[in-house]
């Protein structure tokens, strides 16, 4: 076998192996998307009921709570960025990071100091490489986040907003995550988590503008709100984590699908080239044999004389 042909054969073998791997990853991601979607759906009743309850307390009482009142001058904001631990998901992580950077820029232009909190190794690596300050980070659970993980993430954020700004606390919390719109569409977006605007929440809870009943609070509306708001934040973060995970798997599936397609195309081109090389080799061999034979014939014919 000629050197050229051998090189082609080797490349075809290696691309075929890669194709098998990407195909397997595509299939794994596809099954995980379904699982992640199911988890998003399973967490919806809790989130819905909680939103309803928050609206009920927020509108049914005149309680002022640090988590619902906007500071007069916002000097420091926290940005929570949700990325994934692993790559191989197309532009999933870079989109989320880009959205966070745009938000950070916008906040800084408004004269605010920005503290960044990061979930996921990818986002953390991006910030560490650029030697930017990260207030806190969590890794290791982005593929299948649990409620306990969401609690872990929410705890320092809630603590930061409850601390006075002068003592190093923050005035508002933004979250950047990738919304799972559909199997084909996932969009990175930012959202203000706290302080809560109760009007928006109310809109979310009852879009038809149904009137909420006058609740009796046990033990008191302040205590209920105190207990309710952190849970609400946790549930929002949990939902964002789940959506991020579903989006990541969908992005992986898409990226791996195009990788598999590309590998297929590459194999086709390479086999064409390998065939041409083999044919050239055969042609060369034939012409060598023919040439050799005719040279030999010429030589014997010459010796007869």
């Amino acid at each position: 076998m000629g050197a050229q042909l051998r090189v082609y054969k080797r490349r075809i073998r290696s691309v075929t192996a890669t194709k098998k791997i990407t195909k397997a990853m595509e299939m794994i991601a596809a099954s995980r998307v379904v699982k992640a979607q199911r988890k998003v759906a399973a967490s919806t009743p809790y989130a819905q009921e909680l939103t309803r309850a928050v609206t009920a307390v927020g509108t049914g009482s005149n309680t002022k709570h640090p988590l619902t009142t906007q500071a007069e001058t916002v000097t420091r904001s926290a940005v929570l960025l949700l990325t994934s631990d692993r790559g191989l998901a197309g532009a999933f992580n870079s989109n989320a990071i880009k959205a966070a950077e745009q938000l950070t820029e916008r906040l800084e232009r408004a004269g605010r100091q920005v503290e960044t909190y990061i979930v996921g190794r990818r986002g953390l690596a991006h910030y560490n490489f650029r030697e930017r300050k990260v207030a806190e980070s969590w890794t290791g659970f982005t593929d299948e986040p649990t409620y306990a993980d969401a609690k872990k993430v929410a705890a320092p954020l809630i603590e930061a907003i409850e601390t006075d700004t002068a003592d190093g606390g923050v005035d508002e919390i933004h979250i950047v995550f990738t919304e799972f719109v559909s199997m084909m569409t996932q969009t990175a977006l930012d959202d203000r988590l706290l302080p809560l605007s109760l009007d928006e929440v109310a809109q979310e809870a009852s879009p038809q503008g149904e009137i909420l009943p006058l609740y009796d609070f046990e033990p008191s509306s302040e205590d209920v709100l105190d207990a309710l708001l952190p849970r609400y934040v946790e549930s929002r973060i949990y939902n964002a984590l789940l959506q991020s995970a579903a989006s990541k798997h969908a992005a992986t599936r898409r990226a791996m699908k195009s990788a598999t397609d590309n590998a297929g195309e590459l194999i086709e081109t390479l086999s064409r080239l390998a065939n041409a090389a083999r044919q050239a080799e055969i042609t060369q061999e034939i012409s060598e044999i023919v040439g050799g034979a005719s040279a030999l014939a010429d030589a014997t014919a010459g010796s007869d004389y």
Binding site: K39, A42, S43, P45, Y46, E49, L50, R52, A53, A56, V57, T146, Y147, K151, L212, P213, L214, Y215, D216, F217, E218, P219, D223, V224, A227, L228, R231, E234, S235, Y238
Partner: protein, 125 residues
């Protein structure tokens, strides 16, 4: 007055139980509270403790609930809990082991959790 109320017991990651009931007893921070159909709209903070639901077909459902909220309006009662388990989901032997370990380690919150589970599990048997 409606004779039954719709109950939804939801944990953070799933709906644990839902159905019609005639009475729900839960423990709030200010004491046990019983909710029957037609109760005044209510929103309360739950303590960890067993929740008893008397279903409309005469059965009883007991669940261990660890923190959360109870909200009642329009004859719809929602019990929101971060963690909630039905009594028949609880493995008594495992919880007993957990209780012993928690006692040995002096972990008060783990001990309380195990205790609540155990009480919920034994309430129906």
């Amino acid at each position: 007055m409606a004779a039954e109320l719709h109950v939804a017991l939801v944990a953070a990651d799933r709906e644990v139980w839902s159905g019609e009931a005639t009475l729900v007893v839960a423990r709030t921070t200010s004491g046990d509270i019983g909710v029957m159909p037609g109760h005044q709209p209510l929103l309360g903070v739950l303590e960890s403790g067993p929740v008893t639901i008397r279903t409309s077909d005469g059965g009883t459902v007991v669940a261990a609930v660890h923190g959360g909220f109870i909200s009642f309006a329009d004859n719809k009662l929602s019990l929101l809990a971060e963690i909630a388990e039905l009594s028949d989901e609880i493995d008594v032997q495992r919880v007993e082991r957990e209780l012993e370990r928690a006692k040995a380690e002096g972990d008060a919150s783990a001990q309380r959790r195990a205790d609540v589970r155990l009480r919920a599990a034994t309430a129906t048997r």
